[in-house]
C-alpha cells in the first residue's frame, strides 16, 4: 500500500508523454542525459557502461525513518543435481566449481550487475556493481514478491502487479484501489501457511 502510494507520486517526475514510453526509450533517455534517475536493477549496468558517456552511480531503497531497509534478492534460486544422472561425479565436480571463489570472481566481473549465488567475498572491478553489492551489508534480504509460488494461481499476481502499477503511475487508479485489487486477487486462491 505505501509502495503504491509512493509510486503514484512518480508520475509527476516522469517526462512528457511517458504513457507511451517503453523500456528502451527510458534507457536511451538516461544515456543521453535527459533523465536524472533511472529506476531499475543491477542488470542494466552493462547497457549503461557501453552507452553512457558519463559516470553514474547507484543508490538503494530509502526506507522511512526507523524502518529496516530491504533489497529484493534472488533468494529463490538454487542449483542441484538430478539424482538419476549417469554422470554424478562430473556433475559434482562442475557444481563444486560453480560454488568456488574462482567462479564467483569470473562470473561477477565478466557480467557486471550479476552476482554469484555463493557467499564468497569477491573483489568487483566495476564500481557501480560494487555499490550494489555493498547494499547487501546495509539492507536485509527479501524475496521477489510475485515470483515462484505467488505467481501460480489465477489471477496471476505478477500480471496484476504490472497492470496495477501502470495504472497507479498513470493516475487512473488510486493506490488504495490497486492494493485492494491485488490483495483480493491473491486472497481468492492463496491462503498463507498452506
Amino acid at each position: 500500500m505505501d509502495t503504491l502510494a509512493e509510486l503514484a507520486r512518480w508520475g509527476e517526475y516522469l517526462g512528457k508523454g511517458f504513457k507511451a514510453q517503453k523500456y528502451p526509450d527510458s534507457q536511451n533517455l538516461f544515456t543521453l542525459g535527459r533523465g536524472a534517475i533511472y529506476a531499475a536493477g543491477s542488470w542494466d549496468i552493462a547497457t549503461f557502461n557501453s552507452q553512457a558517456d558519463f559516470k553514474f552511480g547507484a543508490f538503494g531503497p530509502l526506507p522511512a525513518k526507523g524502518e529496516d531497509c530491504y533489497i529484493s534478492d534472488h533468494t529463490d534460486i538454487a542449483l542441484g543435481i538430478n539424482p538419476k544422472t549417469n554422470n554424478m561425479d562430473a556433475a559434482k565436480t562442475f557444481l563444486s566449481w560453480m560454488a568456488s571463489a574462482e567462479f564467483a570472481d569470473i562470473y561477477a566481473n565478466s557480467l557486471p550487475g550479476f552476482f554469484s549465488l555463493s557467499n564468497h567475498e569477491v573483489k568487483l572491478s566495476d564500481p557501480v556493481a560494487q555499490e550494489f553489492v555493498s547494499l547487501r551489508g546495509k539492507c536485509k534480504s527479501t524475496i521477489r514478491n510475485s515470483y515462484q509460488i505467488l505467481s501460480r494461481g489465477t489471477p496471476n499476481l505478477e500480471t496484476e502487479l504490472w497492470n496495477a502499477s501502470v495504472q497507479v503511475i498513470n493516475g487512473t487508479m488510486t493506490p488504495q484501489d490497486a492494493a485492494k485489487k491485488l490483495q483480493d486477487g491473491l486472497d481468492s486462491w492463496y491462503k498463507p501457511g498452506m
Binding site: G15, K16, A20, T154, P155, N156, E158, V166, T172
Partner: protein, 303 residues
Amino acid sequence: MTRNQSHIWIFLAPAVLIYSIFMIYPLLDSIRLSFYDQSETGDLSFAGLVNYVALFGDPNWSEPFWNALINNFKFFAMHMLVQNPIGLLLAAILSLPKLSGRGSYRTLIFMPTMLSVVIIGFIWQLILSPLWGVAEGLMWNVGLGDYYNAWLGEEGSALITLSLISVWQFVGIPMMLIYAALLNVPEDLTEAALIDGAGHWSIFWRIKFPLILPTIAMVSILTFVANFNAFDLIYAVKGTLAGPNFSTDIMGSFFYRTFFGFQLQLGSPTMGATVATMMFLVILIGVMGYLLLIQRRLTRYSL
C-alpha cells in the same frame, strides 16, 4: 460414370488432404483439448465443460474475455468505417478514365500491405513517440500541436490508434479487390450512360456500385475474419499485456496470454484452447450469418 467419379477424387485429393492435415485436424484437436484439464504435473484429464464454465462464470476469466471481444468489435468497426470506404474511394479514383500515374499510385498504396507487421508497428511507434517522434513536430507546424497526445499510451485512444495503423497497412487489399471488380464493368454500360447524359457521380453510384456490391460484401467478410484473428500488430506494439489496462486486448492477444502465459503467468494449453474455440465460434457465427443472410440476397448481374 465411375470413371468420372474417380477423376473428381483425384482432383480433390491434394486440397482435401492438405486442408485436413493442416487445418481441420488441428482445429478439431484444439476443440478437443478445450474439454480437458491440466494438473500441476502436466497430465491431461477429461473435464467436460469446466473450462467453459470458468471462462464465462469466473470473473477472472470472463471480464478479460468480454473486454477482448468488445475491443475486437471496435477494432472491426474501425476497419469497416474507415478502411473499406477509403479502399472504395481509392479504387474509384484509380479507375477514372483520365488518370495519369495510375500504376505508381497503385503500387505505393499497396506497399504497406507487403511490409512486415513488426516493421509497421515499429515505424508507427517511432512516428507517434512523444520522445523521438515526428508527429508532434509536424502537428505544431500546422498549428495543431495542442491536440497532440501520447495516443498509444492513453486508455481511451490506444485501440483506435492501433486500428488506424492497421487500416493504413491493409487499405491496399480492399482497394485492389474493388479496383479489379470495377475494371470488369464493361465500358458499353458507362458509355451508354454518358450518352444518356449521366455524370461520373451518378454513373458510379447507379451503375458501377450495384455491380461491385458482391465484391464489397466479400471484402467485408474478409475484414471480419482477419480482424478476429488479428494479433500480430497488438503484440508488436503493445506486447503481451495489451496495455494500458488491457484497453488494446483483442481475442488474439487474449488467447496468446492465456495459452503461452506472460512473464510469470504460466500458460494454460487447455484454457488457451477454450479461448481459441470461442474465437472459432465467433468467426463461424459471423461467416454463417453472412452466407445465410447477406450473400443469398445479393443480386448478381450477368454481363
